[in-house]
Symmetry: C2
Subunit: 202 residues, 2 copies
Amino acid sequence: MTKPELIYFDAPGRAEPIRMLLHFAGIEYEDTRFPGSEWPAIKPTTPLGFVPVMKIDGKQYCQSLSLTRYAAKLADWYPASEFQALKCDMVAETINELAALAPKSKDQDELKKLRQEFQKDTLTKYWKFVEGIIQENGGILVSGSTPTFADLLIQQSVLMIKLGFWDHIDTNFFDDYPGLNATCKAVEENEKVKAYMAAKKK
Amino acid sequence: MTKPELIYFDAPGRAEPIRMLLHFAGIEYEDTRFPGSEWPAIKPTTPLGFVPVMKIDGKQYCQSLSLTRYAAKLADWYPASEFQALKCDMVAETINELAALAPKSKDQDELKKLRQEFQKDTLTKYWKFVEGIIQENGGILVSGSTPTFADLLIQQSVLMIKLGFWDHIDTNFFDDYPGLNATCKAVEENEKVKAYMAAKKK
């Protein structure tokens, strides 16, 4: 194939795991980033009005989880076992769903109230579920003994909350989740992840 | 593994493609169905408050797309090619997203208005996108030359709208989509699908 192009905001978000996995796979790609101000002009040119979009041989592909899974397969970060892949897909879909469930409001006081309730119920239920999956697999990873795309999605999502990117969600929310913290550590200490971070700094 | 159990309402919905694919794979499973009246009691026993849930070796797995993909792999209805799988995953995720986007309201007049707008914009945009993918692949299927789980999800979703299960969406909505109709025909004429339908009637 010709050099693929990944199109997204100039931010980590839903594109960062795809960027990382393409890097792990050794695939050269065009990392096209645009500022938020250009989004109204770009949105109507995307297949469904969302990014990330990946252009492959001139055609546009979307749906972030599908693109992440595709890149994960190329990077060998997707399990060959159907059952291990089920666990990873389930965790990936759960994290994806959670992002869509976070309440929104233009009223800051109402947003704060809604987000605090969300943290207590849905956010806690969803992350406890993922923590349970990790504990069943020995306390470090979602499946197997090497990181998969599900572990990468966990690490990226946990990091966003820890860094305060989720308005009104406690940045220390994950203090009581040993499995999730172990996953983050395993991902961050992975040689390919370290090489990506080093390349990014240049 | 011990005999898996699939838990869902006594309805097609998000479980039917999984039931079909498990049948195609020749996997014996417990098809546990419950009436809507039992849902309030069952909901808190599920991992995230949703069905379908599949019990495998005593543990519960959820997320319908992940379960569908798992069953599709067992049935050989999931492409081995990463790129063909990307196209199928993208279509599956698009159909899944569309179901979540359909507007809801307890006021019937408002519901009708919202659904008519939804049909004109989002529903049309999403299905035109899927129609385009089918046309790029020769006009019959999403990828390759034999049906995949993406084609099955198309057929099931189109059928639900044609049968009037989507309130206030025209049952003849798909009249102008030759690719989607060809996909439905190819799925319905598939020998494994015919065998499933015949077994169901018994």
